[in-house]
């Protein structure tokens, strides 16, 4: 189960102080084909979706974003300024590292500063080929061999933290910031979308799976094992060409072929035409991957009770709880 930690664990971007006046916030999902926006209000238990829109990216990013924002404002004119942008970009580089912390003062309680120090160290140690770290989060914590929910306040001698980091070129990050700036939004965080989806997946009680989001011409695959994101792959084939898509799936999964333990659950989300793709996936997996046995398929949207494009918005909204 991924941890719900204070905001500074979840993003390098600090929230603006001016935007703290309301608990409402906007969530924007920008992927290769669509922009979806959701207006959430932060209730006691979890954020509630007030209104949402989705629009194809048939024009310039700025144009479509502003048009979507306008459409959302028509549904509810009292839009908040605070925003989280979730991105799905093939150039995002992600890395999950297990950081081991040998604590000399094992009888003292673990503090948020300890955790932050580990995250920063891990994030900066990785050579991301010139890309900038824009998101880090603790994905698992094991204290003296025991998996724990939240390490803060715990005592022990050896702490192992699963640290998820995401990197992207500065120019691209600037681009998303500029999108928010031009729309007069206070950008609180830029979040890798697949991380949030995986978190929603894990929070639902499953800890291993191959998650697939298939757009018309793009596919994103997340390989999740023991509650950790082993890897995220994106390729430019989608539901418009199911036969070729199977080839892409095969090659994307081959990078994990040396992995000893494969999930048996394939979970589709925000995917149209799943029945056809499921058949292709089944044939591809059975033919090419002997270590993947008795594979099961599901629709994550259905299981979590979300409409077609809302799984991503809800998943992103969880980030709003820590604003």
């Amino acid at each position: 189960m991924l941890l719900k930690l204070p905001s500074f664990f979840s993003s390098k971007k600090q929230p603006s102080q001016e935007s703290k006046t309301s608990d409402d916030f906007l969530v924007a999902e920008i992927n290769q084909e669509k922009i979806s926006l959701g207006f959430f209000t932060d209730q006691d238990t979890k954020p509630a979706l007030v209104a949402s829109v989705t629009e194809d990216r048939k024009a310039d990013l700025f144009v479509v974003f502003n048009s979507s924002l306008g459409a959302l404002a028509e549904k509810n004119p009292n839009l908040p300024n605070r925003a989280i942008i979730g991105i799905n970009d093939p150039k995002i580089e992600t890395m999950t590292t297990i950081a081991r912390l040998n604590r000399e003062k094992m009888h003292e309680e673990m503090t948020s500063e300890d955790i932050e120090r580990v995250l920063t160290q891990v994030g900066e140690d990785y050579n991301a080929h010139g890309k900038q770290l824009f998101f880090s989060s603790v994905t698992s914590a094991v204290l003296d061999g025991v998996r724990i929910g939240n390490p803060i306040g715990a005592r022990g001698s050896v702490l192992e933290l699963g640290c998820f980091n995401a990197y992207l070129e500065k120019e691209k990050l600037d681009l998303y910031e500029k999108v928010a700036q031009e729309a007069k939004l206070d950008l609180e965080k830029i979040v890798p979308l697949e991380y949030c989806i995986v978190r929603a997946f894990l929070d639902s009680g499953t800890k291993d799976g191959i998650l697939l989001r298939i757009l018309k011409d793009f596919t994103t695959l997340s390989f999740v094992e023991e509650s950790n994101i082993v890897g995220v792959k994106t390729f430019s084939l989608g539901s418009s060409e199911p036969d070729f898509w199977g080839e892409g799936l095969k090659i994307a999964l081959q990078d994990f072929s040396q992995h000893p333990r494969w999930p048996t659950l394939v979970s589709f989300y925000d995917t149209e035409n799943q029945a056809v793709l499921e058949k292709v996936a089944k044939e591809t997996l059975e033919k090419n991957f002997a270590n993947l046995k008795e594979v099961r398929f599901e629709n994550l949207n259905t299981r979590l009770g979300f409409a077609q494009f809302e799984a991503s918005l809800y998943a992103l909204s969880v980030e709003g709880e820590t604003l």
């Binding site: 990216r57 093939p90 003296d144 724990i148 715990a154 009680g205 011409d217 084939l237 060409e241």
Partner: protein, 518 residues
């Protein structure tokens, strides 16, 4: 070698499709450097592997042209100026981060068939006023007929004599039953199974004392002057005096020689016999740990079952090394509590999942499920020293659902015997059910019907008699029926004069039998 040049917006699927159709085995692929495909190395890998599967060899070259005029279709003709094949496939160019924008296409839609038909009719109308008037009249009549046939409705409420009807039955639900049995009052339960896993951790609460035993050397003394005494390893020796009750064991076999006797005459002339015991040193270890088992020099001990005066032992240099401390350990209660918590959580998750799987009319039996632990891993075992421990558990849960319509059917059959002659159960009876008890493989449900028996009315005959009748005729007919205590006819919409009548279309007549109000 074939050279294929693709446009900036050519999709990966299109390139793969083209590669499939090319007969040459050596192909040079030119993709503009601004193509979004090149942003992702996995796309190139897909191209390479797919080509390799087709027995083709690919060489990538950077596209030099990025004009939007580049044709989307690849140029299949061989080029004379082929870029250097030495460009490595993985040295992709660096790209600027302009967002890819698709071309927006404006479609010119041709006039539709409907447009053309309307224009034709308008032209005809302009040329014939008579045609227009006749057409309008015909349309008016046709419209009127369609309106009268399809729009007006009649709601006829019949007030009937009634008797209150309350019936309770207990029904057994079981997965071993295949279909409802009205005689045995049994209904089938449908099993729903799901597997879930989860892990959790908890603080430990068990306590245990750990430490080291006291050890040292004692001298065993044998006062028997005839025989030596042998004590096996593990013989218990007990402390006397201040440490009374503290137990130690011999670390090895010890044979203590017999003692010796000597005599002498004291100053008063008496003969005194003195016994000098046989002596043998041996190492001992306290049975339990703790500082309280450390002994000072001179401490004496009873050896085994021997009387103190026959054989005893003394620690001439004392015993030391005993230490103890209390530590927190995993207790059986800790494991039990965390297992119960996890089980409850997993069963709750599964029940929530079952809720989404139920078909219409199915009801999940709350609190009735079989659970089977498929896997349970503990990070620490009971008794292990730890502040925290965790359990990773996989559970198979089988829940059960029944079909509420089957339960209602049994209830209606049971209630029939309580309905008086000439009466029937009125629609809209309140039916409730609750689980009374759950047993191994079966449940007992209490189903309750709370409604009314009303006088029987043949609705089909009534409807055919009323079809097309005027309001007065319909009222007179209903008044003549002895089994109808009262009635109400609501015609909608309210039409003038002769048009105000019961529709001839049976689907527009709704007859409701309601109990007569008291």
């Amino acid at each position: 070698m074939k050279t294929l040049e693709f446009g900036i917006g050519t999709s990966l699927a299109k390139i793969l499709s083209t590669l499939k159709g090319v007969e040459d085995n050596d192909i040079t692929v030119i993709i503009p450097r601004e193509s979004p495909l090149l942003e992702n190395p996995l796309n190139i890998k897909i191209l390479e592997k797919s080509a390799s599967d087709l027995g083709k060899s690919l060489v990538f070259a950077e596209g030099v042209r990025s004009s939007p005029n580049v044709e989307e279709e690849p140029n299949l003709e061989p080029k004379t100026a082929i870029p250097s094949p030495s460009v490595p496939t993985n040295s992709l160019p660096t790209h600027s981060f302009e967002e890819p924008s698709s071309n927006v296409t404006n479609f010119n839609i041709a006039p539709s068939f409907v447009d053309r038909l309307l224009r034709f009719l308008a032209k005809k109308v302009r040329h014939s006023g008579i045609f227009l008037i006749g057409g309008v009249a015909l349309l008016f009549l046709l419209g009127g007929y369609l309106f009268l046939e399809n729009v007006p409705t009649a709601a006829i409420n019949l007030y009937l004599d009634n008797q209150e009807l309350i019936k309770e039955i207990t029904v057994t639900g079981s997965p071993l039953v295949s279909e409802p049995d009205p005689l045995k009052k049994e209904i089938p339960l449908t099993p729903l199974t799901a597997t879930k896993s989860s892990s959790d951790s908890a603080k430990t609460t068990g306590k245990k004392t750990v430490g080291t035993s006291a050890t040292g050397t004692v001298t065993l003394r044998n006062y028997n002057t005839v025989t030596a005494k042998t004590f096996p390893k593990g013989t218990v020796i007990k402390a006397t005096d201040a440490l009374e009750g503290a137990k130690y064991i011999l670390d090895q076999v010890v044979t203590v020689p017999q003692g010796s006797t000597s005599s002498h005459i004291d100053s008063s002339g008496k003969k005194i016999n003195e016994t000098d015991p046989g002596r043998k040193d041996a190492t001992v270890t306290s049975v339990e740990v703790g500082t309280k088992y450390n002994a000072s020099s001179g401490q004496t001990f009873v050896v085994g079952t021997e009387g103190f005066e026959n054989v005893n032992a003394v620690a001439s240099a004392g015993l030391s090394g005993g230490t103890s401390k209390e530590v927190t350990v995993v207790s059986e209660t800790d494991v039990k509590n965390l297992t119960e918590k996890l089980t409850k959580q997993l069963v709750g998750n599964v029940n929530q999942e079952f809720g989404g799987k139920l078909s219409q009319g199915q009801k999940l039996v709350e609190g009735f499920s079989d659970t089977k632990v498929l896997q349970k891993d503990l990070t620490h075992q009971v008794g292990d020293e730890a502040e925290l421990f965790g359990i990773d558990m996989e559970l198979s849960v089988t829940g059960y659902a029944y079909n509420s319509s089957e339960l209602e059917t049994l209830l209606y059959i049971a209630v029939e015997s309580s309905v008086p002659e000439g009466y029937e159960v009125a629609q809209g009876a309140a039916i409730t059910s609750e689980v009374l008890k759950t047993e191994n493989k079966s449940i007992t449900l209490l189903a309750k019907l709370n409604g009314y028996a009303i006088t029987k009315v043949d609705r089909e005959n009534l409807m055919s008699s009323l079809k097309g009748k005027s309001l007065d005729q319909a009222e007179n007919f209903l008044r003549s029926q002895s089994n109808i205590a009262g009635f109400e006819i609501i015609l909608s919409p309210s039409l003038p004069g002769f048009l105000n009548k019961i529709p001839t279309n049976g689907s527009k007549i709704k007859i409701e039998a309601v109990k007569k109000s008291d």
